[in-house]
Assembly symmetry: none
Homo-oligomer: 163 residues x 2
């Protein structure tokens, strides 16, 4: 390679250096802007989620206030020995709270048929004419919220017949 050629080549490299430097600066700039955008997005999401959680919570607390009112009316009936009114009041409170919880997605765990370890807890096993492993008594209701088991149903299962 002659010096002439070397110089020519070097000039090309210098042009390329300018181009690559410009690209590098552009990428760095884009990277920094994207980082800032991502950070802002993350912060906004965190803020939104907190607010969303607070709103969901507030709605539920708000709906519980009338239940508390009904309970207080029932207590007044109790203090005045108005048994029928008290009983009716308790029924009303129960219906309100149960309906509210169903609207919130609460559902009773099913307990018909074979024992299900995912949603039930067997506290006892007793001889019975029912097929072994069948739920024969529910000691405490279980509840699900959507896919999640909030509390398993506590049940007695059949140990099968002795014969």
């Amino acid at each position: 390679m002659t010096d002439e050629q070397r110089i020519e080549e070097a000039v090309e490299e210098i042009d390329e250096l300018a181009a690559v430097t410009r690209e590098r600066d552009e990428y760095l700039d884009a990277l920094q802007r994207l980082k800032a955008e991502f950070d802002n997005y993350r912060k906004r999401v965190a803020r939104d989620q907190q607010e969303l959680a607070a709103r969901a919570h507030e709605r539920l607390v708000r709906e519980l206030v009338p239940v508390l009112d009904d309970l207080e009316r029932a207590l007044v009936a109790a203090s005045e020995h108005e048994e029928a009114k008290l009983e009716e009041g308790v029924r009303l409170v129960h219906r309100s709270l149960a309906d509210l919880l169903v609207r919130e997605g609460l559902a009773e765990v099913e307990t018909v048929g074979k024992f299900d370890p995912h949603t039930q807890e067997a506290l006892l096993s007793q001889p019975s004419d029912e097929e072994e492993g069948t739920v024969i008594e529910v000691l405490q209701k279980g509840y699900r919220l959507g896919d999640r088991v909030l509390r398993p149903a506590r049940v007695v299962i059949s140990a099968g017949s002795d014969g």
Copy 2:
């Protein structure tokens, strides 16, 4: 500048070109990875949104399950005409629910003293020995949750004495 110097300088430029090219490639790589991460994050946020809304009040619903249990026990007592047990049950339910709501931040609106239009609603104004504008009777309790008034207290205020 001699050819010697030019060549020396050109070699330096070539070294710099290599370095800048490496930087450019690194920034481009980082930019692409951050873009992908951001996209994934956005998708995950969208997916989480629904679940979060569902879970926001899960804790509260979970705490309400024992209140429902107590109510059901009270109903059993009612159906068996065990009045004392029914009354005690209702007291228990009331205490549980009231305590739970206090823990969740619910507070009664104060009604002592001068009428407060921000937290109270005057349903009636009656002549009374109390100073004009004073709350003289609470018809329905009001509730606050943090800074927000969930329900104003419904009150009767004094119209002052006729004399």
